[in-house]
């Protein structure tokens, strides 16, 4: 599975990380850094904004990401998180 994330300072990334994962963005980065630098996972791919997020998730099989609004794009499956 490929994971896409927005930049650390992006308001949606901050909100998603804090509200959903219970971590600050730098703590999330620390979690994946410890695994990337021990060879146990690959890092998430950073995208510039939500439109690139949707485009990249749609193009990569088995990929996951997050966006602010629900989509009508038939290439992606949307799970709503309130």
């Amino acid at each position: 599975m490929r994971v896409f994330v927005l930049p650390d300072e992006d308001p949606l990334h901050v909100a998603f990380t804090k509200d959903r994962l219970g971590l600050f963005p730098y703590q999330l980065r620390g979690v994946w850094d410890r695994q990337v630098f021990s060879g146990t996972v690959q890092a998430p791919t950073r995208v510039a904004d939500e439109s690139e997020m949707i485009r990249r998730v749609a193009a990569a099989p088995g990929a996951v990401g997050y966006a602010r609004s629900a989509l009508r794009d038939p290439r992606v499956h949307t799970l709503e998180v309130r």
Binding site: F16, R34, T40, R68
Partner: protein, 202 residues
Amino acid sequence: MNLRRFIAAWKRRAPGGAWGLPAPRRTRGLSTALLTPLLALFPAAQSLWTSLQIHGFVAQAVLDTSDNRWFARYDGTSFGFTEVGLNASLRPRPWLLLAGQVLARRAGEMYNGTPAIDFALADVSLLSSPQQHAGLRLGRIKNPLGLYNETRDVAFTHPGIFLPQVVYFDKVRNLTLSTDGAMLYSETDTDLGTLSLNLQGG
């Protein structure tokens, strides 16, 4: 003993402005959508190299000591502690991860900076579900000792520049650093926390 140390390490950090701020109000009431492609099959046409990732780091310490040359080559100010690493990883199949890292380390009289293979492994995923994953690693594997042994040479992955010697004793560093062998691992999410089991030999 009069010991003063000034330590500065080049670190990658999260931007200071990103934390401590409340989540912006405008995102509160809105839904966050998770996106997953409908097509989860791995297409044969996808290039092998699209999954290639390369990461690296450089850490340089500045040490100032009067009598304790631990990690320093001489009394006074020295630059005797340097860590440089470069790693690459590739996922040619969804169930297979190949990863390797070269590490060059200067540490006082102990290490002179000769590059060495820090890890080089193949990770085969045997089981993967939302609650549990398990797999087999083969090759040179970092030992999961304490909290930080696996990334003890990567400054920005642990608090402080030097790790506490009571757990990460540098005199037995070569014994504890990594294993050339195999490791079966599993992690299970439970209501109480994450249960992690590792069986390693080499």
